[in-house]
């Protein structure tokens, strides 16, 4: 019988760190996850999804209430399903799958990831290309396919940069992406605020709102109208809840975010996902909807075909161009990088950069087609449907087997190269989910729930028959020994790290933070506030908006310059490169 992918007797030095449980000294507190999730979920996708809700005809109350309920369910899913397994195993789903299901399952899983992450990456390249299109005066691409050669060239050019960076310079871009989050949060909020007076004026002839109920009334008349792009009654509360919950099913029910939450010191830090859900998937979606609707009204186009470049440019001026390019680019890159990694796992003999380039070529081709990014919400929902059974299998293995008197890691203990019950469970559950979709028995955004349950049920039944009920005491002891060796190694590493730790308390670093925070974030926020609340008429509105546009682009430059400088200084401190002897350190 062939051996499985995981061998507990293997020397630790031969195992990639990614395959080992996270060391305690690398674990983080709640603040880290609050920031991480805020950053992860304020991306270019939000521009698209916000507009999609408008196009699908959600009503204002359905949005305000439905998104809260759906996102709360998502936070609870992260907290109650993903975090316990992530914190319990300290492994990414990929590493965990290798242990519980063997190589074939892991490869299938990686294959699915290649497709999903490539599609997201292609969509985000298109989003960036829509902003570049505005600069080159290329007409909007309102058809599902490209209608202008220049747009194809732009999409290829942007795509080429994304592919090259993902292949060769991902770490640098990843660092850059890490400083974008606070700026993106401010700009998303500011974009909505800047356009609310214009929306109000387009409805009532007045730029001012006299009460919150005015905002509700205007938003319901002009943005979240309850009527879809075809003029028919739109989606309702249940659909909004479903979409919000399902938009990240691959991350929570599908357990992809085990990769992030394995670093959490406590299970309850799963609640920190609320920053991403309640800001990125609430404020940013609503703000993006407002921006999209205002732009569509101005351009007299359906919101379904107004592209993010126009929306951001109209809402935020030149900074809008930056936001779409930066948000689209960083999102595209991280997803292409993930797709490349997943593809390399399928072809371990080929170098990562070559695989990434290969996948990138396909991504570049897909990025020429606007329908890919316009299908973002269903794409994420279906992606979730594909990956949710894998999450169900892992959930059953981790949570249910011990409670049902079955043995976790049974396939590995039994020495199976392929956990066929797991593969069969995935395929059968997928067939079940797709079948439900074809029969149109229930809305597709809720399909993940029965599919997840069915995957658990099938896996429990099949695994029980295949040997999960048996005891494997010898293998259990080997696994415990392995964990003991891992713990000792972590302790050694933690001691080394501790010696190197240097706190950056220099005045220069503090000054850098004050500048990017004050000039880069607070000034645009104050200017946006002024546009929204101090524009009693169109003249004042335009003056305030022009000032916002003119100043914010410089604030953006200051923000990125100083935030990147600060990031580099922090890195040098961490490496011990900036010693406590430098002159500014003395201050």
């Amino acid at each position: 019988m062939a051996s499985s992918g995981f061998n507990p007797h293997q020397p630790l030095e031969r195992i990639d760190d990614e395959q080992l449980p996270v060391s305690p000294h690398k674990q983080h507190g709640a603040r880290h996850f609050l920031g991480l999730y805020a950053a992860e979920h304020v991306a270019a996708t939000e521009f698209v999804i916000g507009a999609t809700f408008v196009g699908l005809g959600a009503g204002i109350w359905d949005i305000l209430i439905g998104l809260i309920i759906g996102n709360t369910l998502a936070v609870l899913s992260f907290t109650l399903i993903t975090a316990p397994i992530a914190v319990g195993t300290r492994l990414s789903l990929f590493a965990y799958l290798e242990r519980i299901a063997g190589n074939v399952m892991a490869k299938l899983y990686n294959g699915a990831n290649v497709v999903i992450f490539s599609a997201i990456s292609a969509a985000m390249i298109t989003v960036s290309a829509t902003a570049v299109r505005v600069l080159f005066d290329v007409p909007p691409q309102v058809a599902p396919y490209p209608t202008d050669v220049a747009f194809v060239l732009i999409a290829f050019a942007v795509g080429a940069i994304v592919v090259l960076v993902a292949a060769f310079g991902f770490n640098a871009l990843s660092e850059f992406a890490s400083i974008c989050a606070p700026w993106l949060m401010v700009m998303f909020t500011a974009g909505g605020m800047v356009l609310i007076p214009a929306l109000a004026e387009s409805v009532t002839g007045f730029t001012t709102l006299t009460s919150v109920s005015d905002f509700i009334a205007i938003a319901s008349a002009s943005v979240f109208t309850g009527v879809n792009a075809e003029g028919e009654p739109g989606i309702g509360l249940w659909e909004v809840i479903g979409f919000a919950w399902a938009a990240n099913t691959f991350a929570h029910f599908g357990l992809i975010d085990m990769a992030l939450l394995r670093y959490a010191r406590k299970v309850r830090y799963g609640l920190a996902t609320c920053t991403g859900m309640m800001f990125g998937h609430y404020v940013a979606w609503i703000s993006a909807g407002l921006m999209g609707a205002a732009t569509a009204a101005t351009m007299k186009l359906s919101i379904m075909v107004v592209d993010p470049g126009d929306v951001a440019f109209y809402a935020l001026g030149l900074s809008g161009f930056v936001i779409v390019v930066v948000a689209g680019w960083t999102t595209a890159n991280s997803n292409l990088y993930r797709a490349g990694l997943a593809a390399q796992a399928l072809m371990p003999e080929v170098k990562r950069w070559k695989v990434t380039m290969l996948v990138g070529l396909g991504v570049m081709g897909a990025s020429c087609f606007p329908f890919v990014y316009r299908s973002m919400l269903p794409l994420l929902t279906y992606a979730g449907l594909i990956l949710v059974p894998v999450g169900g299998i892992a959930f059953a293995e981790y949570q249910l087997f011990p409670r049902l008197g079955m043995t976790s890691y049974w396939a590995s203990f039994k020495g199976l190269a392929d956990n066929r019950p797991a593969i069969a469970s995935w395929l059968l559950s997928l067939a079940f989910g797709v079948g439900l979709n074809v029969l149109d028995i229930m809305p597709f955004y809720y399909l993940f729930l029965p599919t997840w349950c069915v995957s658990i049920l099938i896996y429990v039944v099949l695994a029980r028959r295949a040997g999960a009920c048996e005891a494997y005491p010898e293998q259990q002891r080997a696994l415990e020994d392995f964990h003991q060796r891992v713990a000792e190694r972590h302790e050694r590493k933690a001691a080394e790290k501790h010696r190197q730790r240097i706190e950056d308390k220099t005045w220069l670093s503090k000054g850098i933070v004050v500048i990017w925070c004050g000039v880069g974030l607070i000034v645009p926020a104050v200017l946006a506030w002024r546009v929204m609340f101090d524009s009693p008429d169109l003249y004042e509105y335009y003056v305030n908006r022009e000032l916002f546009y003119d100043v914010t682009i410089w604030c953006t430059l200051v923000y990125f310059t100083f935030a990147y400088w600060g990031l580099q200084r922090r890195k040098r401190f961490k490496r011990g490169g900036v010693a406590a002897h430098t002159p500014e350190a003395a201050g």
Partner: protein, 442 residues
């Protein structure tokens, strides 16, 4: 068996008594009416007891607001299909635009007794869309010059029938005596229906226009500058203090108190300033046409406050009954009985101007009728324009633009910015809106 009989009997009694109670009380329609808080509308509210007495199935709830506030509340409600109002008071500007957007119900089945053909053609046309009436006029107005005959006589002046703005300026200078009265009162309160109504009409007389035939804004032109200069000069030199705070109602009150020697404003003011119960100068008021500048256009206008039914109303039948009553010739007769013929809401019906009682009570009636019938919203300016409307431009973007421009001009009046700045600002904001519209069209 006894218990069963008791239960059945009790149930039947309950059902029957409930049915009887329901049959006794016919359904009550509660109409919420949004109206502008001027004297004629307040009078309508006071006389509405007669309507509710004749229509016990209808209750009236009034929301009376000042002009600017009314516009914002009504527009927000009607544009968002809020359903708060069953009847709204709108003007000639809104009627066609809102009707085209489907926000109003057509008044296509008014009873024969309403005599819709009695409505003055210019007013009826201004409140119609594609030939269908969408708002029934309560009163209509043009603009003219009101002046104090006694003060003119004391100063040895005599008013000409068709004064020029230069004549008005000379007269205002001669009559200005700030301890007793101001030489002239003009609307200064910002708002597209307040200072901008007068200033647009003034600019028309000076040869100005909002847009040329290519929709290029024309506010930074000599005509607008001359009009604005004259307006500011008049108010700064001979006007009341803080003129930027004074709208139609404020100036009416000043004139009634004898504080204005000349006032150029709406013809509807005539009955108020000649009513001895309200006006201290009722017997000393003269009237002349709106000032001109020798270019063939006067600073007059055409406006009607009218009652319309939002599409969102759930009591449209009751609303129609009320509108048919409030804008009818019978209502006018009711006002005449209670208050005298001079107080009848003017400007809507030909029969009123043919009525000898009215002609006797309102000596200005011929001038008002002449101003109303001469007003031509289709040809409002010296040079051709691509829009309709005299003191407004009948496009959806106008309230936004004119509110902004009105605020800039009010700032100039208050001395906060210069005339050049005000005109540059006005041109800039109008240009921005025009560019946006062109961008959208492209």
């Amino acid at each position: 068996m006894l218990l069963r009989t008791v239960l059945v009997t009790g149930s039947l009694t309950c059902v029957l008594s409930t049915g009887a109670a329901l049959a006794e009380s016919s359904p009550i329609s509660a109409l919420t009416i949004a109206t502008v808080g001027n004297r004629d509308m307040v009078r309508m509210q006071q006389l509405s007891e007669g309507f509710t007495a004749a229509n016990p199935d209808i209750e009236l709830q009034w929301v009376a607001l000042d002009e600017n506030t009314l516009r914002q509340h009504v527009t927000t409600d009607i544009a968002t299909a809020g359903g708060r109002f069953d009847i709204v008071t709108i003007g000639t500007y809104e009627a066609a635009i809102w009707a085209e957007r489907g926000w109003l119900l057509p008044l296509d089945d008014l009873p024969a007794s309403y005599q819709v053909d009695d409505l003055l053609p210019t007013v009826r046309e201004a409140l119609s869309f594609q030939g269908q009436l969408y708002a029934a006029p309560f009163y209509a107005e043009s603009a003219f010059t009101l002046y104090r005959e006694d003060l003119f006589a004391e100063a040895g002046l005599s008013m000409v029938e068709s004064p020029s703005w230069e004549f008005i300026a000379r007269a205002a200078a001669a009559l200005h005596d700030p301890d007793e009265h101001y030489g002239i009162c003009l609307r200064g309160k910002p708002g597209w229906g307040e200072n901008m109504a007068l200033l647009t009409a003034m600019a028309n007389a000076y040869g100005g226009r909002w847009f040329d035939m290519q929709w290029v804004p024309q506010l930074a032109t000599a005509a607008w500058r001359d009009a604005l200069d004259q307006y500011l000069s008049l108010l700064w030199k001979y006007g009341p203090p803080n003129p930027e705070q004074l709208g139609f109602n404020d100036n009416l009150a000043l004139f009634q108190q004898g504080k204005c020697a000349i006032w150029v404003d709406a013809t509807v003011a005539a009955s108020a300033v000649t009513n001895p119960r309200e006006s201290m100068v009722a017997d000393r008021v003269g009237f002349a046409l709106a000032p001109q500048q020798g270019l063939g256009k006067r600073a007059n206008w055409l406006w009607a406050w009218a009652l319309a039914i939002p599409s969102s109303s759930t009591s449209s039948d009751a609303a129609k009954r009320f509108i048919a009553w409030a804008t009818s010739a019978d209502f006018q007769r009711q006002v005449a009985e209670d208050e005298g013929w001079a107080q009848v809401p003017p400007g809507t019906r030909r029969s009123l101007y043919d009525n000898p009682h009215y002609q006797a009570a309102a000596p200005y009636s011929d001038m008002v009728l002449e101003s109303l019938t001469a007003a031509d919203p289709g040809n409002p300016t010296v040079d051709p324009v691509p829009y309709r409307g005299i003191q407004y431009v009948a496009i959806a973007a106008f309230p936004g633009i004119a509110t902004a421009v009105g605020n800039r001009f009010a700032k100039a009046l208050a001395g906060e910015i210069t005339v050049d700045e005000a005109l540059e600002n006005a041109q800039w904001v109008t240009q921005k809106v025009a560019e946006q519209a062109r961008f959208a069209d492209q």
